[in-house]
């Protein structure tokens, strides 16, 4: 007798825009992390189980997740049968012993996280690929680095130094250009030969598209969803807004950036060319839910002024040892 097993009404992971978040990007587990680092795994797990019914404090990625769910609500209204939605997945190498506490916390904050992997210490890479993760956010820079090396868009999230109110009905994502959306090829020239050579080079190669960087795919995924709103006449009211926030200058090197995006069939809603000025104040005005940069200097600057900033450990700028999220917090607070 052939065993006929029905398949669950399954969303195909490749149709969704999957954002994988780690448990420490989602919840504040500083005290627990201290116990793990100082007293080891057994005490850490004991503590978590003892405090199981206390929900964790919500943390840095919460506004992103709320905004993402707001976009989903709008998408479902316009396209009720579509699987092209955001899907937030909890991806943690934590042991399943912590599972009940994490689930209790997710319930407490009524987060729309239905899928999770708790790998008990094993590497997350295979699971990130199995889920076709479009973006992986973690507080652990080593895991983020590993993911980037495997070609997965990833960033280490840092808490802002102060709470900024961000829009609840529009998801705003800000990207640095070089070594985030684009490769680090131009940054290498700047670092090796200085600013003048950099301007010269960029002007000379204005019409040659830059190679792509680790987060190009994520911008592309956001663009696809934006198109769905435009198709229904909702360009002005689109609940997704993207920003390019670059140290390039509008007068010279900026052109190559814009032309590159155009050659990929992509665009950002706004492009801010700061010509080397600090990014913090500009981001403070924009109020994005998250900002991606490859340089810790900019990440810290943004976090200081209240933006959720995420470090993309890619390219030539990664010569200095990456700070952990807690180091940054200690510096800021």
């Amino acid at each position: 007798t052939a065993l006929k097993i029905p398949a669950p009404p399954a969303p195909k992971p490749q149709n969704a825009i999957t954002i994988a978040v780690s448990s420490r990007a989602l919840f504040n587990m500083d005290r627990e992390q201290d116990i793990y680092e100082q007293q080891g795994m057994e005490d850490y797990l004991k503590y978590q189980i003892q405090h199981e019914i206390e929900e964790e404090n919500i943390h840095v990625c919460h506004p992103v997740i709320q905004a993402v769910e707001a976009v989903n609500t709008r998408l479902r209204e316009l396209y009720p049968d579509s699987e092209e939605l955001f899907d937030v997945v909890l991806m943690t190498s934590n042991h399943a012993h912590v599972g009940l506490r994490l689930i209790n916390s997710i319930n407490h904050y009524q987060l729309f996280i239905e899928r999770f992997c708790m790998t008990g210490g094993n590497s997350l890479i295979g699971y990130l690929k199995a889920y076709h993760a479009n973006l992986y956010l973690s507080a652990d820079s080593m895991k983020v680095r590993e993911a980037i090396e495997e070609g997965i868009a990833a960033a280490t999230v840092f808490s802002p130094g102060k709470i900024t109110e961000v829009p609840e009905t529009q998801l705003r994502v800000a990207f640095d250009g070089d070594a985030v959306l684009f490769s680090d090829e131009s940054e290498r020239i700047y670092k090796a030969h200085g600013l003048d050579k950099f301007f010269e080079h960029e002007k000379a190669h204005e019409n040659k598209p830059l190679d792509h960087g680790p987060l190009k795919g994520f911008l592309e995924a956001l663009g696809k969803l934006q198109q769905k709103f435009y198709a229904k006449g909702q360009r002005l009211d689109c609940p997704i807004r993207t920003y390019l926030v670059t140290a390039r200058s509008a007068a010279s090197s900026g052109t190559r950036a814009l032309k590159t995006l155009r050659s990929w069939g992509l665009e950002t809603d706004e492009a801010l060319f700061l010509a080397g000025a600090p990014k913090g104040p500009m981001l403070e005005k924009i109020r994005p839910h998250i900002f991606f940069d490859d340089q810790m200097f900019h990440v810290e600057g943004a976090a200081e002024l209240g933006t959720v900033a995420a470090h993309v450990p890619y390219g030539i700028a990664q010569t200095v040892q990456s700070k952990t999220a807690r180091d940054v917090k200690k510096d800021i607070l």
Partner: protein, 269 residues
Amino acid sequence: MEDKKNCTGPLMIALQYNDLFDLDSISTSTDTDALPKGRAFTFMKAVQTVNERLVEQNKSDCLLFEVILISKECSEEIKTKIVESVKHYGLEIGKFFFCKKEELINTLQSNKVKLFLSTERDDVYEALHTGIPAALLYDQADDHVFNQLTVIFSGDVIGFSEDSLDGLSEFGFSETQIETIKTAKICMKEFAVLIGQMRRRFGQENSPLCTCVLTSWGSRNVCASALKTLREWGLDVDEAFCLAGAPCSPILAVVKPHILWDGGLLNMS
């Protein structure tokens, strides 16, 4: 010294010989001394690793795995070949049973088999249907590690309430299938209790035994219910996966379990 009266072992697992040896490639095999290795090989090696580590901790530990081999009808020549091959590979097989297909269920019952493992879903389902604890021997890739035995329990079977299980009929499950799933839960419990005892012999890290919960259909709360129930049964699992309808094959390909208790719920196409 472990009190014999309190001894809850051994944990008897039954394998079929066509899972242990690859009978299809006999003609192409160059090794004339032994039958070619089959799909259960990495499982056997992993089980032996667990036993070794258990004995390392406590020489008189009686809660060990014991594997028995069940063969359906075959010639004397094949019977000898099987026994010789087992010896050749150094496999720890406790007993051999050569019986007709109709006698399979009786053989399993009378030998107090705690788990019948097979790569054949229909065999697993049929055994479960008659109340024999049975799980899928997940098809292993050749390069799987030998130093850890991985067991997956179905979070749906354990976590869903009676009512919710009845509600599965709306998804196309037959009455028989639903009854089998309920039976599977009872079977899983006994096995989970024993595995829980075994798991506790080792620490969190560097354990030769890895236990997981996989919730394929249910929500995170079904998964939470499964975690709680397993804990009540004495097993705190190491890994947990909640798929909420997403396909399970990609995840299984990463976890690479040896033993997959799905109760007849998982569609792995």
